[in-house]
Symmetry: D2
Subunit: 309 residues, 4 copies
């Protein structure tokens, strides 16, 4: 599919003079040390072809993108029971806001804001020691990406553990409302470590392919989730995947996506492809500035949109 | 397309013993007088076929569904300039909340909450007397539905004018922030009247068809908006079309939709069909209870979802 | 009482080089036309002696200070029944905030924020035409001050009526919660007019004397309210009289007081004196900057404080 | 002063058939084990006379009343520098709300809500190990009450440490905004322990006497704080001492007071007396139900009010 490679190349080329734009996340000290002049685009089609441009082999901290995978695991464990613990509505607030959590009595609005992902981590932890739960998450992502080299960046995990006071606040607040079953430190141990997983664009696009192909991994034919669940995870990504910039992303790009403060975004073109972009500089609502621009161009040039042709 | 008719019939049949469920809107007195035991489903495919079941010829108050059409008109007038006046993010609040409006200095979060639609009405009013602007809106909808019989229910308009104190509050609040150009009474005159337009499911499904077919009206071949604008209106409907139940609707139904407190919902299956459902009883977040259930079943049985197959 | 006059003079003198400080209220256009370089202090003791310095004979717009008098009237009409309509707690918000009003279902937090005073105006209006209610308020204040020349500044009343969109919003919002008995325009007519009453410092200090002397007017011996009610009005002034600067005023000055955006402040030294200060420039929370400073110095130099010697 | 004893007795007697009213605090498990049928009133005049009725020798958990004493210590250490860290305004929210803390970027509204008292504990901790800071606080209170037997109830301290998730959340939230200098666990260690101090009504009334007598302890003539600081602490108690019931307390009782969820209230009649009441059952805003009623009656019968005679 020469066309797609040409599109990916053109998007990379057209944005290459903006590499370095945006602002590094600074609330996790380790993330502030990343070289901002990096930019990659990797696209894997549902028939298994990969198209890449730029820094697609460099591992970066996937941060909140990991929440897509822990959500998938938690739904596998308790199914729709999850929605007693977490809502499914956009938050209308910043990713780490605690206001909503007080107003709604400790139930986070969705699984992609920090509080919601912490509740999801609590579900993944059931029956496990923290170390085992972390191992299970890493193993699941390796399996999805078919790549055993994926690992946690321990410096990032440590940095976040030392400075993640707002997340400690969120977790304790939920604990006060009895919305966490396990000790706060265990839950946060799982959360901080899965956020610190490092992956390249290529690995990430592979790992997300099940969302674009009806829940199956087309590379090996295995089923990850049902087609219905894949659709629903895409729905959650579209509604809530970019915090308080989700509406803007849906309007401009028109594809489900999940961003992370490490500068990565994973997007789904259902029936077409899984796409991962990465550039560390963030825009004012905390999403990769160049990554967002790349997905907007890519959607225009491919004509991919969930909202019509 | 016998299949689709069979599906529409089966959905109607399977839900028929729940007709009358939900609670009538009571804050507009005139709406509380409607017979709750009504239920209709109308579906028009992009190749112009109509499939209907139940009360699809009875006109009902479309209320907030009208906001889709005024948004279309306002985008036609000032394009992306609209977004200086109104945001594009889900609100995380009830449809008539004023809290967000204070926090965000008079800029409504999106064009589908009441405050946003009032700002849109202000845009439509530019260069017109209120009566002319109302006439333009009605004429536009008649054109879209190809039906000159569509009209405003004056009893509903009067009822809303007499009791719409919250909307008066919202409009004055925006006026205080200089986010309305015209006199408050003029803007509200337009708003209350377009919300009082009465249409049947069949008319509504026809009127919304341009959103499913790349901006063109397939019945007469005319272009209503560009394909890109149609996608973007669908995006806004998906993100914000069901107030604080938008996430739930996206998760369960997976199609862009806009509900009204009259019990109607207009939904888009891009590239496939425009669908209108109606049943007056509302659920706890103000969306038609049976209408939501009908769209969920219909999406399941047709396999239509913007999030994959 | 030469001492007191000397103190008043010294306070005026020590602050005289700061005359003109602060920022004129600009949201009511007419108030923005006042000469900012004015400053007056008038103090009337419970035994009827007046001590004055500066511009104490110039009438200014008393604005929210009028709320003390309408509250007194409303308590006279319905007593503690008022507290079903209005709360007695500090608001923790700006004077014209609507957020609290939504969260607490249309019941204002106290009678001194705008929403609360509008509800009080609704009580005063009972059984009257707006014009009569306004007349009653003016008459009551003339009686308190023993001065028939006190009148409404019609320019200010008109200016506020034309631009008071936030107050229109507040009133309609309460009406939506059925917390106003009369038509919104009637209630606001009363409210805008009593806020536009013009008085001099000397008149204002006289009018407030009943609050310092156990509910009686020591000039003519007449009883205005019971001693218990005078105490309670003082309590409300202390808790809520300076909007979101009430805590700061209590801390620095230690006397019950009520400010207005016209730059006036009426303060009570129970058992000692009634004090009115005026200078049009406001601080960042909307209270007279020089007036606050004058009361702080005066309290220090007299040793007057409700919190001990 | 036979009169005062008679008044204290009459208040106790008139309320004695309501003993047991209200609801025990249940969020600290240890507090829920207290016998609710207890009620005491102790009053110490500025000339050192004690009048008591009921259970005035039983030690109870003073909880938030301890915040008066830590505030006094913190002001002694850094004076008005404290107000860079903590505000002086009523909160308009529940005692443990985190909403305000997010909106105001980690600066608590006043030193008597939990977040504010945690910031105060951080100040008291400066230059100390937690154990030393706790010791200093206990020693200060023993000195004020002239009673070496006052001690921390270790069961309560442990219970609160194990279940105080909301306080852990508040502290971490402030730490995220860099409004705590010391490790969160150290600060909370101090906070949880000073809240767990146990005192009798008699001890508490003695300890608070400096607030009623211009900053001096009339029993031994020693100066605790300046007269000006005593007034200001009283001002803070009046404005913020009863959480979101402060306005109601000021209106009904008219004296500065600080309540604790253990059912105690310490009140100041400036120039007259220090009063401590205790009964474990709380009203709906978390203040002692019988204690509030007792202070209201006592204020009526003594004629004591800061707002006039």
């Amino acid at each position: 599919m020469a066309d797609l490679q040409a599109i990916v190349d053109s998007v990379y080329y057209d944005l290459s003079d903006r590499i370095g734009e945006g602002k590094l996340a600074d609330y996790i000290p380790e993330l502030a040390t990343v070289d901002p002049k990096q930019f990659g685009i990797a696209l894997v089609t549902v028939d298994g072809q990969t198209h890449a441009a730029g820094d697609t082999e460099t591992a970066f901290s996937i941060q909140s993108i990991s929440k897509v995978f822990t959500l998938t695991l938690a739904l596998g464990k308790i199914g729709d029971g999850l929605w007693k613990r977490v809502g499914r509505e956009p938050s209308g607030n910043a990713f780490n806001s605690i206001v909503q959590l007080e107003q709604e009595k400790g139930k986070p609005r969705n699984p992609f804001i920090n509080a919601g992902a912490i509740a999801v981590a609590d579900v993944v932890l059931a029956g496990h020691l923290p170390k085992e739960a972390i191992g299970e998450i890493v193993q699941f992502i390796r399996h999805l990406a078919d790549d055993e080299s994926i690992a946690i960046d321990q410096n990032v995990a440590r940095s976040e553990t030392q400075t993640g006071y707002r997340n400690v606040a969120l977790a304790n607040f939920m604990k006060a409302f009895r919305n966490l079953d396990h000790p706060v430190e265990h839950v946060l141990g799982v959360y901080f470590h899965h956020c610190a997983i490092a992956m390249s664009c290529r690995q990430l696009a592979h790992a997300g392919l099940y969302l674009a192909s009806a829940g199956r991994n087309p590379l090996n034919g295995g089923s990850v989730v049902s087609a219905s669940r894949a659709r629903r995870i895409n729905a959650l990504m579209l509604m809530c995947g970019h915090y308080d910039g989700s509406g803007d992303f849906a309007y401009r790009v028109g594809l489900p996506g999940k961003s992370g403060v490490g500068g990565g975004i994973l997007a789904t073109a259902p029936g077409k492809a899984s796409i991962a972009v990465w550039s560390p500089g963030l825009n004012e609502v905390g999403n990769s500035q160049l990554g967002s621009a790349a997905l907007e161009l890519l959607a225009q040039r491919t004509g991919w949109s969930v909202f019509g042709q």
